[in-house]
């Protein structure tokens, strides 16, 4: 198992307020890693720092061996990293079709971008029916599908997913989790998943990482985390 992503001693913050402190994390290829923790623990900042939306104040981020700190945000998608940000990042003023086109605009291989788009419509049937609708006309579930679908148009090797279950009915959440699992199993996609729905996330994840106050306080196999009542209670609050 090779590491797709390695985070070494990462520090980051907003202004003078530190948010990440000495974060170390290794994500193996073809696995799903769940990042868990309370609001404000730094999970979202971790993802944003990895993709360069927040400038790290110290440490390294290696993606397939290359340091990401030197890579511009808009170049990441060309390297195979897709980030679905918090709140899903559907451009509300654009139509479903335009959102999906946006996902493949950077690609030279227009034919494959088209093919990928078609695959997304196949994968998420409800989207196909709402091609011409604007982003803000979609339901929460449809938006999540759109954001995920748009990321997949890029055919990424690493998918960073921030709270996909936010505000979704349990059934929809379950579908999305199942899809992630399938993508990992079928295409070898690597996923870094920030989730509050701990049970849902751990049920598909290979590893779980628990953050608190900007640090990683716990890192273990998903099964281990689910099984250990003490850990669960202390860090996950259930």
């Amino acid at each position: 198992m090779t590491a797709v992503l390695e985070v070494d001693n990462l520090n980051a913050g907003y202004g003078v307020v530190p948010v990440l402190q000495d974060v170390n994390l290794t994500v193996a290829a073809g696995t799903i890693t769940a990042v868990l923790g309370a609001n404000g623990a730094g999970k979202t900042t971790l993802l944003r720092t990895i993709t360069g939306l927040v400038r790290p104040t110290g440490g390294r981020i290696l993606f397939s061996g290359a340091d990401l700190r030197a890579v511009k945000v808009e170049q990441l998608v060309r390297r195979g990293i897709a980030h679905v940000p918090e709140g899903r990042g559907v451009v509300a003023e654009l139509t479903v079709d335009e959102n999906l086109r946006l996902g493949g605009l950077w690609r030279k291989d227009k034919a494959d971008a088209k093919k990928a788009t078609a695959e997304v419509y196949e994968l998420f049937e409800p989207l196909a029916r709402r091609r011409a609708h604007l982003g803000h006309q979609l339901s929460g579930g449809e938006r999540q599908m759109l954001a995920l679908g748009r990321a997949l148009v890029a055919r990424p090797t690493l998918l960073l997913l921030d709270e996909p279950s936010l505000g979704l009915a349990p059934k929809v959440t379950a579908q999305i989790m199942a899809l992630l699992k399938r993508l990992r199993d079928d295409t070898g996609l690597t996923v870094l998943l920030v989730e509050q729905n701990v049970r849902g996330a751990l049920s598909i994840a290979d590893r779980g990482v628990v953050m608190s106050l900007g640090r990683i306080v716990m890192s273990a196999g998903a099964d281990e985390l689910l099984a250990d009542d003490g850990l669960r209670h202390a860090y996950l609050g259930f």
């Binding site: 993709t51 939306l53 945000v73 808009e74 170049q75 990441l76 998608v77 060309r78 897709a82 980030h83 940000p85 990042g89 451009v91 509300a92 003023e93 654009l94 335009e98 086109r101 946006l102 996902g103 605009l105 950077w106 748009r150 890029a154």
Partner: protein, 292 residues
């Protein structure tokens, strides 16, 4: 009735230019959330460039093209060289820098070309075509309408049909997401300024022959009217800019014609209040976001 018809057509042809100029303001607002107070001064600079070239070459068309290219360059230059470096600690900083730019550009134009009015070239006959004794529109008015309509159509095509347009819209609405999707947001911002400056430059070249002529301050009043137009329509809406432009054009014409020229500023204020007190975000404002 004849007077009313006359004033209506007069207002419509003015409104067309206000619409184009308001469109330029809307473009920048949508791309960068800045009301570009330097729009008028920038249009003056490009108009002088167009004037110089078309005078030297003797072709209106060449001058027109110079204005287009000049606008593109100037817009990009202003964004790349200046606006990009303005701190956003407070949204007024953009306004102050734009005002500083107005002073600077006006003074430089004044130094190079002097403060005299210069006759602006016009490609067409400006005498009005009469219908039933009422002079309605001149060929030049039709040219204005045609050009403004072309701009609106081209912009619509650009934004809805092309990849660049899609990128620009995405970058304006959701810069962060766009970057994650590989869009160079900084470049889109530059392009937005450049496009807006082109539209402003065209509006400037169009309106000058109907105004006093070319002069460092030629666009001051046009800017004020067009800003009002953009606000009436809603700063986020290109359609609003066009409708707002026509509304302001008509109001100015009716008030000038029926109540006296001196009262036009009062009329503009009244229209702004009437519209904004009913719709605080302009006629074509979208749904208000949830605040809690």
């Amino acid at each position: 009735m004849e007077r009313f018809i006359f004033l209506t057509f007069d207002g419509l042809s003015r409104g067309a230019v206000y619409a184009a100029f308001a469109l330029a303001l809307v473009l920048i607002w949508r791309a960068a959330r800045v009301v570009n107070f330097a729009q008028g001064a920038m249009a003056v600079v490009t108009a002088y460039a167009a004037y110089m070239v078309s005078d030297a070459v003797g072709s209106y068309l060449v001058g027109f093209l110079v204005a287009l290219v000049g606008g593109l360059l100037l817009g990009a230059l202003v964004e790349r060289g200046l606006m990009r470096f303005v701190g956003h600690a407070n949204p007024l900083n953009d306004v102050i820098v734009a005002l500083g730019l107005v002073l600077l550009l006006t003074a430089v134009v004044g130094i190079i070309f002097g403060g005299e009015f210069r006759a602006a070239n016009q490609p067409f006959d400006t005498s009005a075509i009469e219908v039933g004794g009422v002079p309605l529109m001149s060929r030049y008015d039709l040219f204005i309408w045609g050009t403004v309509a072309t701009i609106v159509v081209l912009l619509a095509l650009l934004f809805t049909r092309t990849a660049v347009g899609l990128r620009m819209r995405a970058a304006a609405f959701a810069p962060e997401v766009s970057r994650l999707l590989g869009v160079n947001v900084g470049r889109m911002l530059t392009l937005g300024w450049a496009l807006a400056a082109v539209v402003g430059a065209v509006a400037g070249v169009l309106i000058l022959p109907t105004e006093l002529g070319l002069h460092p301050h030629a666009m001051d009043i046009v800017f004020a009217s067009s800003f009002a137009a953009a606000i009436v329509g809603g700063l986020d809406s290109p359609v609003g800019a066009v409708v707002g432009g026509i509304i302001v054009g008509l109001i100015l014409s009716y008030v000038s014609g029926y109540l006296g020229a001196a009262l036009t500023p009062v009329a503009v204020l009244a229209v702004l209040l009437a519209v904004l007190l009913l719709r605080p975000g302009g006629i074509f404002s979208g749904v208000r976001a949830r605040t809690v």
